[in-house]
């Protein structure tokens, strides 16, 4: 249960403790202040605004836009399920996505409500892993999916581009791990004291 609380602290966006977070971590779970909602707009300019693909050059972004998949989900539709294997990472383009995890009693616990341009299920793009959480659409949702096989193919032909994405992915994972440790062992006290100072 403690672990679940930690994860909840980690993922659930709270405006009040937003400031002490690492900037890159903030970018992961909070709406990017510079992000412009452009439903049906240019895919390349959307990808440029995401944390995961923000480092890519225009040519690389165009190449990426040719291999990603645009998906639409209805309200309440399941995007990914806990325990099932993952084959793609998702970036939220419009709408909201609820990240949940089943508690010991079987009850679904809401961990986070993601807004654009947040990404989730990133580890599925790196290796064959069973998902540890579920994702469900809240309202009509538009997503951009990048398959593990697509990323592998990109790495085969354009290793530099794939390397940038993987570096960014590692950075995101490290930031999440850091936040998990902080929430587990320090309960956010450090952040509080830092804020008081």
């Amino acid at each position: 249960m403690i672990a679940l609380v930690g994860v909840k602290n980690l993922l659930h966006p709270r405006q009040d403790d937003a400031e002490p977070l690492d900037p890159s971590a903030r970018a992961l779970f909070h709406p990017n202040p510079k992000f412009r909602h452009e439903t049906g707009g240019d895919l390349v300019s959307f990808l440029k605004q995401t944390a995961l693909f923000g480092d890519l050059k225009p040519g690389e972004l165009h190449r990426l836009a040719r291999i990603v998949h645009e998906r639409s989900y209805r309200d309440g539709e399941s995007i990914s399920e806990e325990g099932k294997p993952g084959a793609a990472l998702f970036v939220l383009r419009s709408g909201a996505v609820e990240i949940t995890r089943r508690a010991y009693g079987g009850k679904q616990v809401l961990l986070a409500t993601l807004e654009p341009p947040a990404s989730f299920d990133e580890l599925a793009a790196v290796g064959e892993v069973a998902r540890w959480n579920s994702a469900r659409a809240r309202g009509p949702v538009s997503l951009v999916a990048l398959g593990r096989s697509d990323l592998d193919a990109l790495g085969g032909h354009y290793p530099a581009t794939a390397n940038k994405i993987l570096k960014q992915l590692a950075r995101i994972t490290a930031a999440r791990l850091q936040m998990l440790v902080e929430s587990q062992y320090f309960g956010g006290q450090d952040q509080e004291s830092e804020r008081e100072r």
């Binding site: 040719r66 998949h69 399920e81 084959a87 398959g147 032909h157 354009y158």
Partner: protein
């Protein structure tokens, strides 16, 4: 029954009807357009092979269109070079006639020696008594096939009398031709004497006599109209930068999106592994055949040629070795002198050594190359391969034979991967 349940039932019924209609329509279209399946598959396979080369060129900032143009140019130049080289190997008209005379003489002499035939060609050893019912008609067919037409005979005599003989032993060739005529005459008589035997049927006057109804022109036109689509499909697939895959996946329901991604990746891996493995295996088989044939005494130039043909036809199961065997035996039949690296080999037993060399090459291929090179690719039971290849030949002719193994392999991977993913995602 509540109104909600009735609505659900009606919806299910409607979906089932639409699904069945779609399936029937797809089956009908597949059957109606079956003549286009092979051209589309062949061009798709070629585009799949060429895609990595185009992507490699794109890495050097060459636009995709230009990269495709460059690739086609290189292929065209290579084809021109190969055709030019092959033209030098093709004998002249007189050379071909001389080759026919020598081949026919050698076949008849070896048959006579093997069966220990008497001068009338009607009595022979025990082996002859045992197999004459099958072997005599076969030899008659070969004689009929290799016998010179009146035009070829006049050409041959003109080349002898005009002093433009291409052979170093013109007298010997004339003797061989006379012997061939005599043998044909004797065989015809023997066929007439034999009880219930049919006489030799007359030789067809033209090349296309006996071709399908409508003649060669309409057959060629039909073939061209089917295959005209192939270059268009090839170019379209080669210039595709992922739209096709994305379009295909966009039609897949959300809950099947990730399983479909994995199935497509599995198919891609399987096809890539099979093609890479086949290419390596073909190269190794070609080199092995060339080396072994050189060892038994076939000149290096001809051994390399036979090895190349064996490698090129290895895509069809067992055809590579069959081509090597036929090529080697043809050389053994026509050879006048050899320089073997093994002392036991002579002109008389060269055919046996050729058979041994090709069998050894096939054994090395099956025992060493296939496990090492094709180890990661899809494995099929030999019986499945034979039935598949036969089925492919019945349905689509030679191209069906060529595509049978990859098609069965891909189907196997598709079924296995789909079942695995649907199970993993809890959909079945």
């Amino acid at each position: 029954m509540s109104a909600r349940n009735e609505g659900l039932l009606a919806g299910l019924l409607f979906k089932s009807l639409v699904g069945t209609a779609a399936l029937l329509l797809a089956a009908f279209l597949l059957w109606a357009l079956r003549s286009l399946i092979v051209p589309v598959l062949v061009s798709g396979l070629l585009a799949y092979i060429c895609r990595p080369m185009v992507s490699e060129l794109e890495r050097f900032r060459i636009p995709r269109g230009l990269a495709i143009g460059l690739l086609l140019l290189v292929v065209a130049l290579a084809a021109l070079f190969v055709v030019d080289r092959l033209r030098t190997l093709v004998p002249s008209q007189t050379g071909a006639v001389e080759l026919k005379i020598r081949a026919l003489y050698a076949i008849n002499e070896r048959y006579r020696g093997l069966m220990d035939l008497d001068p009338t060609l009607t009595k022979g050893n025990r082996l002859y008594q045992l197999v004459r019912a099958d072997s005599d008609p076969l030899l008659d067919r070969v004689n009929q096939l290799l016998a010179l037409t009146p035009e070829e005979r006049s050409l041959f005599y003109a080349s002898r009398s005009g002093g433009a003989a291409t052979s170093n032993s013109p007298d010997r060739l004339l003797d061989q031709d006379r012997a061939n005529l005599q043998t044909i005459d004797l065989r015809t008589r023997a066929a007439r004497i034999a009880p219930g035997a049919e006489s030799l049927p007359p030789r067809p006057a033209g090349l296309y006599e006996g071709s399908p109804a409508g003649g060669p022109v309409s057959y060629l036109a039909q073939l061209l109209s089917n295959w005209i689509i192939a270059p268009l499909v090839f170019l379209f697939l080669l210039s595709d930068t992922g739209q096709l895959k994305r379009g295909l996946l966009s039609m897949v329901p959300n809950r099947l999106f990730e399983p479909a991604l994995i199935v497509l990746a599995d198919l891609d891996h399987a096809l890539g592994d099979w093609l890479r493995g086949l290419f390596l295996e073909s190269c190794l088989l070609g080199i092995t055949v060339a080396l072994l044939l050189t060892v038994v005494g076939i000149p290096l130039r001809w051994a390399i040629g036979i090895g190349l043909f064996a490698a090129a036809t290895n895509a069809v199961p067992y055809l590579g070795s069959a081509v090597a065997l036929l090529g080697g035996l043809a050389y053994a039949l026509l050879a006048q002198q050899i320089h073997p690296l093994i002392p036991m080999v002579s002109i008389d037993n060269l055919a046996i050594w050729v058979i041994a060399a090709v069998v050894l090459a096939e054994v090395i291929k099956s025992a060493v190359y296939e496990p090492v090179v094709l180890g990661g690719a899809v494995k099929l039971h030999p019986l499945v391969v034979v039935i598949g290849v036969t089925g492919g030949a019945i349905l689509f002719g030679f191209v069906g034979v060529l595509l049978a193994v990859p098609a069965i392999s891909m189907f196997k991977v598709f079924v296995a991967s789909t079942a695995r993913q649907l199970n993993a995602y809890g959909l079945i």
